[in-house]
Symmetry: C2
Subunit: 300 residues, 2 copies
Amino acid sequence: MSLLVTGSIGIDTIKTPHGVSENCLGGSAIYFSMAASFFSPVRFVGVVGGDCPFDLANVFAGRNVDLTGLEIRKNSKTFRWVGTYSENMDNRTTDYIELNVLAEQPPVVPKEFSDSKFVFLANTAPGLQLKLLSQIEEPLFVAADTMDFWIEGHPEELKELIRKIDCLIINEDEARLLSGEHNLIKAAEKILTIGTQVIVIKKGESGSLLCCANETFVLPAFPADDVKDPTGAGDSFAGAFMGHLAQTGKTDFESLKQAVAFGTVAASFTIADFSLAGLTSINKADIDARFTALRKLTRF
Amino acid sequence: MSLLVTGSIGIDTIKTPHGVSENCLGGSAIYFSMAASFFSPVRFVGVVGGDCPFDLANVFAGRNVDLTGLEIRKNSKTFRWVGTYSENMDNRTTDYIELNVLAEQPPVVPKEFSDSKFVFLANTAPGLQLKLLSQIEEPLFVAADTMDFWIEGHPEELKELIRKIDCLIINEDEARLLSGEHNLIKAAEKILTIGTQVIVIKKGESGSLLCCANETFVLPAFPADDVKDPTGAGDSFAGAFMGHLAQTGKTDFESLKQAVAFGTVAASFTIADFSLAGLTSINKADIDARFTALRKLTRF
């Protein structure tokens, strides 16, 4: 079934103990689409400035990513981010950020995308996420991400968003902040009472947690021995997660569990190299092989 | 098959955000034996002073724990520990410690225990662990724990110990310190080269990692929503792990994986209450039910 993503496109400069990647392509919609495209066609909605050095048609060549929703604003500038990861890559700091086009009006969802059934609203102001969602006629399954800035600064708008979506995909710090609970099981339970049916909590190298009203699933991260650049891991996770659901058209708990496992696998490929290189150097067979390996690694 | 443990017996005072437990029974051999006794008879080797207020025969009444190896030194004092857990129980500090009898000669392994087949050497000086191990004639499977103090201060003795055992069970900080590798997969690989066949790395609420030369197993922690006192979680893990192996008499990788799952389950019961209350309030059926639940929670 159709899968639409709205999110950022960025020019990233990333410093990790393994090296520096200057002015490389990044952003939530980019990582999401690259990971999702292994599973399902993707409808892409995002905006860049006239300075964007990347030809996205070229970036996604050979992949089923429909760029009708890509807007290029000639007189604006593209989102930029410079970040540094700590020695052990447990922490990262933002050295520099320019919102640029992200601080302007959001892109419009093209009319031909308005019948999308699976929708992912990457992190941005909850008000904008609601505005983007309102342009989809009858979505079947909507997932969204958010971050500390919106949880702290716009809690009511965020709750309105959470009541309108089916699934929230956030990291453990965000889950704790949103719920006021340190224990993640309690945090998940509390967030479900706001109104979403499904919550996925990403815990980085500690894996992830999937909760619905009466069911829970816990999965470790894929045991990677080679982590070069964690940037985009969360968005790749979301991309494979939603891509698998859109591919099968199913959202029952068994399908959600498999989607979490595919998300885990996609993230493990992303972090193995800088920028998109971890994802562009593999094919669907590599993903399926690692999915099978993850199952073997965790089964007793 | 026979299972022997050597370790500490302590008088603990524990402060957590959920309350204070003063002068309660603790120590590695105690938690280990309580957890292991659900699976297998236990041969207990440890020493207390004349001041010990606990009657261990009473503590282990109705459980198959042979206290022939318990030595009571009338003129010595029992090991004491006072610790405080942080608000989120992510960290603990030792407020006060009295080694007392633990700083003296170790207990002797009774002659009738020298034919033990499964052996756990809880954390103490590697030289003492070697001395205790030398009193066992033909052990089948020996596991040991250690800590930062011995890794930093007695690396050569510790390596000699690691070469003589079959399995090292340590936490993630210890694995990183011992290997000099932050990545736990690399850390495990490096530690295996020292000479042990099996390594289990405990990651607290992030679960655990089991590695042999060519096989790996990763398991999340049981998703607990009620953590009162993490003291003894690691020793309970080791107790159920070794108890399961001794019960089945098998140490192939499938058995080791199941042992890690039983260890995870025992730890989850331990942390749900203060001191031993989490383990003494359950029976083997509760453990088996949670083992099955853990399998369901992690299977996709």
